[in-house]
Protein backbone atom coordinates (compact mmCIF):
# COMPACT_ATOMS: atom_id res chain seq x y z
CA UNK A 1 0.00 0.00 0.00
CA UNK A 2 1.13 3.53 -0.66
CA UNK A 3 0.87 6.37 1.85
CA UNK A 4 -2.59 7.31 0.63
CA UNK A 5 -3.68 3.71 1.02
CA UNK A 6 -3.69 2.82 -2.63
CA UNK A 7 -2.47 -0.66 -3.50
CA UNK A 8 0.95 -0.68 -5.11
CA UNK A 9 2.63 -3.35 -7.21
CA UNK A 10 6.02 -3.71 -8.85
CA UNK A 11 7.48 -6.03 -11.43
CA UNK A 12 9.69 -6.34 -14.46
CA UNK A 13 11.52 -8.63 -16.81
CA UNK A 14 13.95 -11.39 -15.94
CA UNK A 15 17.12 -9.37 -16.53
CA UNK A 16 15.82 -6.20 -14.85
CA UNK A 17 16.37 -3.83 -17.79
CA UNK A 18 12.63 -3.05 -17.73
CA UNK A 19 10.80 -2.41 -14.44
CA UNK A 20 7.28 -1.15 -13.76
CA UNK A 21 5.14 0.11 -10.91
CA UNK A 22 1.36 0.08 -10.65
CA UNK A 23 -0.45 2.39 -8.24
CA UNK A 24 -4.13 1.76 -7.70
CA UNK A 25 -6.40 -1.22 -8.09
CA UNK A 26 -5.71 -3.82 -10.75
CA UNK A 27 -8.59 -5.09 -12.90
CA UNK A 28 -9.84 -8.63 -13.28
CA UNK A 29 -7.04 -11.16 -13.62
CA UNK A 30 -7.46 -13.71 -16.41
CA UNK A 31 -5.76 -16.32 -18.52
CA UNK A 32 -6.17 -16.17 -22.30
CA UNK A 33 -5.93 -19.41 -24.30
CA UNK A 34 -6.27 -17.84 -27.76
CA UNK A 35 -3.60 -18.90 -30.25
CA UNK A 36 -2.21 -15.37 -30.48
CA UNK A 37 -1.59 -15.23 -26.73
CA UNK A 38 -0.18 -18.77 -26.79
CA UNK A 39 2.35 -18.05 -29.49
CA UNK A 40 3.25 -14.59 -28.18
CA UNK A 41 4.09 -16.13 -24.82
CA UNK A 42 5.43 -19.48 -26.07
CA UNK A 43 3.13 -21.06 -23.54
CA UNK A 44 -0.19 -22.84 -22.97
CA UNK A 45 -1.95 -19.56 -22.15
CA UNK A 46 -1.11 -16.02 -21.17
CA UNK A 47 -2.11 -14.79 -17.69
CA UNK A 48 -2.87 -11.06 -17.80
CA UNK A 49 -4.20 -8.44 -15.45
CA UNK A 50 -5.58 -5.07 -16.57
CA UNK A 51 -3.91 -1.92 -15.28
CA UNK A 52 -6.29 0.40 -17.08
CA UNK A 53 -7.87 1.82 -13.91
CA UNK A 54 -4.50 2.25 -12.23
CA UNK A 55 -1.41 4.37 -12.79
CA UNK A 56 1.27 2.40 -14.63
CA UNK A 57 4.81 3.77 -14.62
CA UNK A 58 7.86 2.33 -16.37
CA UNK A 59 10.44 2.93 -13.66
CA UNK A 60 13.42 1.53 -15.58
CA UNK A 61 13.65 1.20 -19.34
CA UNK A 62 10.61 0.64 -21.54
CA UNK A 63 9.30 -2.45 -23.24
CA UNK A 64 9.92 -2.98 -26.92
CA UNK A 65 6.63 -3.62 -28.73
CA UNK A 66 5.45 -5.96 -31.45
CA UNK A 67 2.29 -4.85 -33.22
CA UNK A 68 0.52 -8.22 -33.34
CA UNK A 69 -2.48 -6.83 -35.26
CA UNK A 70 -3.56 -3.33 -36.20
CA UNK A 71 -5.44 -3.12 -32.89
CA UNK A 72 -3.01 -4.51 -30.35
CA UNK A 73 0.66 -4.45 -29.40
CA UNK A 74 2.63 -6.75 -27.15
CA UNK A 75 5.46 -5.41 -25.05
CA UNK A 76 8.56 -7.37 -24.05
CA UNK A 77 12.09 -6.73 -22.83
CA UNK A 78 14.43 -6.27 -25.77
CA UNK A 79 17.36 -7.50 -23.66
CA UNK A 80 15.95 -10.76 -22.24
CA UNK A 81 12.61 -11.33 -24.00
CA UNK A 82 10.25 -11.52 -21.01
CA UNK A 83 6.68 -10.85 -22.26
CA UNK A 84 5.35 -7.86 -20.33
CA UNK A 85 2.19 -6.35 -21.82
CA UNK A 86 -0.84 -6.74 -24.02
CA UNK A 87 -1.79 -3.24 -25.17
CA UNK A 88 -5.18 -2.54 -26.76
CA UNK A 89 -7.07 0.73 -27.32
CA UNK A 90 -8.91 0.23 -24.02
CA UNK A 91 -5.74 -0.01 -21.97
CA UNK A 92 -2.71 -2.00 -20.95
CA UNK A 93 -2.73 -5.45 -19.40
CA UNK A 94 0.39 -6.75 -17.68
CA UNK A 95 1.76 -10.31 -17.68
CA UNK A 96 1.04 -11.72 -14.23
CA UNK A 97 4.27 -13.74 -14.11
CA UNK A 98 6.29 -10.53 -14.50
CA UNK A 99 5.00 -9.10 -11.20
CA UNK A 100 7.40 -9.40 -8.27
CA UNK A 101 4.63 -11.18 -6.35
CA UNK A 102 2.35 -12.92 -8.81
CA UNK A 103 0.85 -15.10 -6.06
CA UNK A 104 -1.39 -12.21 -5.02
CA UNK A 105 -2.94 -11.91 -8.49
CA UNK A 106 -5.04 -15.02 -8.95
CA UNK A 107 -6.86 -15.25 -12.28
CA UNK A 108 -10.66 -15.37 -12.02
CA UNK A 109 -11.70 -15.87 -15.65
CA UNK A 110 -10.56 -17.63 -18.82
CA UNK A 111 -10.73 -16.26 -22.35
CA UNK A 112 -10.13 -17.71 -25.81
CA UNK A 113 -11.18 -21.23 -24.95
CA UNK A 114 -11.55 -22.19 -28.62
CA UNK A 115 -7.78 -22.72 -28.56
CA UNK A 116 -7.57 -24.23 -25.09
CA UNK A 117 -5.14 -27.13 -25.32
CA UNK A 118 -6.79 -30.50 -24.83
CA UNK A 119 -4.55 -31.48 -21.87
CA UNK A 120 -4.54 -28.20 -19.97
CA UNK A 121 -7.20 -29.09 -17.42
CA UNK A 122 -5.32 -32.26 -16.46
CA UNK A 123 -2.09 -30.44 -15.65
CA UNK A 124 -2.70 -29.89 -11.91
CA UNK A 125 -2.94 -33.66 -11.43
CA UNK A 126 0.50 -34.38 -12.93
CA UNK A 127 3.34 -35.49 -10.61
CA UNK A 128 5.52 -32.62 -9.33
CA UNK A 129 9.02 -32.09 -7.94
CA UNK A 130 10.97 -29.31 -6.25
CA UNK A 131 13.81 -27.82 -8.30
CA UNK A 132 16.31 -29.16 -5.75
CA UNK A 133 14.81 -32.66 -5.85
CA UNK A 134 16.30 -33.40 -9.24
CA UNK A 135 19.39 -35.38 -8.27
CA UNK A 136 20.82 -35.25 -11.79
CA UNK A 137 20.82 -31.48 -11.62
CA UNK A 138 22.19 -31.16 -8.07
CA UNK A 139 25.74 -30.23 -9.10
CA UNK A 140 24.42 -27.71 -11.58
CA UNK A 141 22.15 -26.12 -8.99
CA UNK A 142 24.73 -26.14 -6.20
CA UNK A 143 26.96 -23.52 -7.83
CA UNK A 144 24.29 -21.73 -9.84
CA UNK A 145 24.73 -17.97 -9.83
CA UNK A 146 21.52 -16.34 -10.99
CA UNK A 147 21.62 -13.23 -13.19
CA UNK A 148 17.90 -12.73 -12.70
CA UNK A 149 16.83 -9.40 -11.24
CA UNK A 150 15.50 -9.82 -7.68
CA UNK A 151 11.76 -9.60 -7.04
CA UNK A 152 11.94 -6.00 -5.80
CA UNK A 153 13.15 -2.65 -7.12
CA UNK A 154 16.88 -1.93 -6.99
CA UNK A 155 18.84 1.32 -7.05
CA UNK A 156 21.24 0.12 -9.68
CA UNK A 157 21.21 -2.78 -12.08
CA UNK A 158 23.05 -4.86 -13.04
CA UNK A 159 25.22 -5.06 -9.91
CA UNK A 160 28.85 -4.15 -10.51
CA UNK A 161 30.01 -7.76 -10.33
CA UNK A 162 27.95 -8.69 -13.37
CA UNK A 163 28.93 -5.82 -15.62
Amino acid sequence: MSLDNRPQYSGGCQCGAVRFRVEGALGEASVCHCRMCQKASGNFYLPLVSARQAKLTWTRGEPKRFRSSNHASRGFCAECGTPLTYEAPDGVALAIGAFDDPSGIAPVIQWGIEAKLPYVDEIPSLPGEDTMADVDAAAFLADLVSYQHPDHDTEEWPPEAKR
Partner: protein, 168 residues
Protein backbone atom coordinates in the same frame (compact mmCIF):
# COMPACT_ATOMS: atom_id res chain seq x y z
CA UNK B 1 4.66 -40.35 -40.08
CA UNK B 2 7.67 -38.10 -39.76
CA UNK B 3 8.61 -37.10 -36.25
CA UNK B 4 9.77 -33.70 -37.45
CA UNK B 5 8.00 -30.71 -35.95
CA UNK B 6 8.19 -27.00 -36.63
CA UNK B 7 7.68 -23.87 -34.61
CA UNK B 8 8.67 -20.26 -34.15
CA UNK B 9 7.89 -16.91 -32.65
CA UNK B 10 4.71 -14.87 -32.99
CA UNK B 11 5.96 -12.54 -35.72
CA UNK B 12 7.69 -15.31 -37.71
CA UNK B 13 11.15 -13.71 -37.81
CA UNK B 14 12.52 -16.82 -36.08
CA UNK B 15 11.46 -20.32 -37.19
CA UNK B 16 12.84 -23.71 -36.27
CA UNK B 17 12.53 -27.33 -37.19
CA UNK B 18 13.18 -30.29 -34.90
CA UNK B 19 13.87 -33.75 -36.30
CA UNK B 20 12.68 -35.44 -33.11
CA UNK B 21 11.40 -34.26 -29.75
CA UNK B 22 12.21 -35.96 -26.49
CA UNK B 23 9.44 -37.45 -24.40
CA UNK B 24 9.87 -35.06 -21.48
CA UNK B 25 7.20 -32.37 -21.89
CA UNK B 26 6.83 -30.61 -18.55
CA UNK B 27 6.01 -27.41 -16.75
CA UNK B 28 8.65 -25.65 -14.69
CA UNK B 29 7.28 -23.39 -11.95
CA UNK B 30 10.63 -22.18 -10.60
CA UNK B 31 10.84 -18.42 -10.19
CA UNK B 32 13.48 -18.08 -12.90
CA UNK B 33 11.30 -19.79 -15.49
CA UNK B 34 8.27 -17.79 -14.34
CA UNK B 35 9.94 -14.44 -14.71
CA UNK B 36 11.74 -15.37 -17.93
CA UNK B 37 8.42 -16.06 -19.61
CA UNK B 38 6.23 -13.60 -17.65
CA UNK B 39 3.94 -16.47 -16.84
CA UNK B 40 2.88 -18.86 -14.10
CA UNK B 41 5.31 -21.49 -15.42
CA UNK B 42 7.42 -22.31 -18.46
CA UNK B 43 6.06 -25.17 -20.58
CA UNK B 44 9.04 -26.98 -22.08
CA UNK B 45 9.98 -30.00 -24.18
CA UNK B 46 13.49 -31.23 -24.90
CA UNK B 47 15.32 -32.07 -28.11
CA UNK B 48 18.92 -32.94 -28.90
CA UNK B 49 20.69 -29.78 -29.98
CA UNK B 50 21.93 -31.65 -33.06
CA UNK B 51 18.31 -32.21 -34.10
CA UNK B 52 17.26 -28.54 -34.01
CA UNK B 53 17.67 -26.30 -37.08
CA UNK B 54 16.95 -22.58 -37.14
CA UNK B 55 15.24 -22.30 -40.49
CA UNK B 56 14.60 -18.55 -40.46
CA UNK B 57 16.43 -15.94 -38.44
CA UNK B 58 18.27 -16.63 -35.20
CA UNK B 59 17.05 -16.32 -31.64
CA UNK B 60 18.47 -13.71 -29.27
CA UNK B 61 19.62 -14.99 -25.90
CA UNK B 62 19.76 -13.80 -22.31
CA UNK B 63 22.30 -15.56 -20.10
CA UNK B 64 20.10 -16.01 -17.02
CA UNK B 65 22.89 -17.65 -15.01
CA UNK B 66 26.38 -18.97 -15.64
CA UNK B 67 24.92 -22.28 -16.80
CA UNK B 68 21.83 -21.33 -18.76
CA UNK B 69 20.73 -19.09 -21.58
CA UNK B 70 17.18 -18.37 -22.63
CA UNK B 71 16.26 -17.72 -26.23
CA UNK B 72 13.65 -15.31 -27.57
CA UNK B 73 12.78 -13.38 -30.73
CA UNK B 74 14.29 -9.91 -30.66
CA UNK B 75 11.51 -8.60 -32.92
CA UNK B 76 8.43 -9.81 -31.03
CA UNK B 77 9.72 -11.24 -27.74
CA UNK B 78 8.30 -14.76 -27.89
CA UNK B 79 10.26 -16.95 -25.44
CA UNK B 80 11.70 -19.85 -27.46
CA UNK B 81 13.95 -22.02 -25.31
CA UNK B 82 15.83 -22.87 -22.14
CA UNK B 83 19.39 -23.93 -22.93
CA UNK B 84 21.48 -25.65 -20.25
CA UNK B 85 24.78 -24.81 -21.93
CA UNK B 86 26.77 -27.92 -21.06
CA UNK B 87 23.95 -30.30 -21.97
CA UNK B 88 23.43 -31.86 -25.38
CA UNK B 89 19.75 -31.12 -24.89
CA UNK B 90 17.81 -27.90 -25.39
CA UNK B 91 14.29 -27.34 -24.04
CA UNK B 92 11.90 -25.55 -26.39
CA UNK B 93 8.80 -23.67 -25.25
CA UNK B 94 5.75 -25.78 -26.05
CA UNK B 95 3.61 -22.77 -26.96
CA UNK B 96 6.04 -21.84 -29.74
CA UNK B 97 5.50 -25.18 -31.48
CA UNK B 98 3.13 -24.99 -34.42
CA UNK B 99 1.14 -27.82 -32.82
CA UNK B 100 1.38 -27.63 -29.06
CA UNK B 101 -1.73 -29.79 -28.74
CA UNK B 102 0.34 -32.81 -29.83
CA UNK B 103 2.72 -32.52 -26.88
CA UNK B 104 1.08 -33.52 -23.66
CA UNK B 105 3.04 -32.65 -20.52
CA UNK B 106 4.00 -35.41 -18.09
CA UNK B 107 4.93 -33.61 -14.91
CA UNK B 108 5.80 -30.50 -12.94
CA UNK B 109 9.23 -29.22 -11.97
CA UNK B 110 10.14 -26.41 -9.60
CA UNK B 111 7.00 -26.77 -7.53
CA UNK B 112 8.49 -24.65 -4.74
CA UNK B 113 7.50 -21.71 -6.98
CA UNK B 114 4.07 -23.00 -7.94
CA UNK B 115 1.28 -20.46 -7.41
CA UNK B 116 -0.89 -21.40 -4.42
CA UNK B 117 -4.01 -21.26 -6.61
CA UNK B 118 -2.52 -23.09 -9.58
CA UNK B 119 -4.74 -26.16 -9.28
CA UNK B 120 -7.88 -23.98 -9.35
CA UNK B 121 -7.21 -22.61 -12.83
CA UNK B 122 -9.08 -25.40 -14.60
CA UNK B 123 -12.20 -24.59 -12.61
CA UNK B 124 -12.33 -20.88 -13.45
CA UNK B 125 -15.34 -19.44 -15.10
CA UNK B 126 -15.18 -19.89 -18.82
CA UNK B 127 -15.83 -16.73 -20.84
CA UNK B 128 -16.27 -18.55 -24.09
CA UNK B 129 -14.60 -18.47 -27.43
CA UNK B 130 -12.65 -15.49 -28.71
CA UNK B 131 -14.89 -15.07 -31.74
CA UNK B 132 -18.24 -15.42 -29.98
CA UNK B 133 -20.33 -13.27 -27.68
CA UNK B 134 -19.61 -9.65 -26.78
CA UNK B 135 -16.11 -9.64 -28.20
CA UNK B 136 -16.98 -11.12 -31.61
CA UNK B 137 -16.53 -7.86 -33.48
CA UNK B 138 -13.23 -7.17 -31.80
CA UNK B 139 -11.99 -10.70 -32.51
CA UNK B 140 -13.00 -10.43 -36.17
CA UNK B 141 -11.09 -7.15 -36.50
CA UNK B 142 -8.00 -8.78 -34.97
CA UNK B 143 -8.28 -11.78 -37.25
CA UNK B 144 -8.45 -9.60 -40.37
CA UNK B 145 -5.27 -7.76 -39.46
CA UNK B 146 -3.29 -10.30 -37.47
CA UNK B 147 0.46 -10.17 -38.01
CA UNK B 148 0.98 -13.48 -36.28
CA UNK B 149 2.89 -15.96 -38.40
CA UNK B 150 0.69 -18.93 -39.38
CA UNK B 151 1.29 -22.26 -37.64
CA UNK B 152 3.32 -23.70 -40.51
CA UNK B 153 6.43 -22.72 -42.47
CA UNK B 154 6.07 -20.08 -45.18
CA UNK B 155 8.17 -19.24 -48.23
CA UNK B 156 8.29 -15.56 -47.47
CA UNK B 157 7.51 -13.52 -44.41
CA UNK B 158 6.12 -11.01 -43.68
CA UNK B 159 3.64 -10.89 -46.56
CA UNK B 160 3.83 -7.78 -48.70
CA UNK B 161 0.60 -6.46 -47.17
CA UNK B 162 2.21 -6.28 -43.74
CA UNK B 163 5.34 -4.60 -44.93
CA UNK B 164 3.49 -1.58 -46.22
CA UNK B 165 1.67 -0.90 -42.96
CA UNK B 166 3.10 1.73 -40.71
CA UNK B 167 4.94 0.65 -37.63
CA UNK B 168 3.50 1.66 -34.24
Amino acid sequence: MSKAVTGGCQCGAVRYSVAELHDNAHLCHCRMCQKAVGNLFAALIGASKSKVSWTRGEPSVFRSSEHVERGFCEKCGTPLFYNYLSSERINLTIGSLDHPERVKPKGHDGIEGRMPWFSELATLQDYGETEAGDSAEWAAAIKRTSRQHPDHDTEEWPPAAHQTESKP
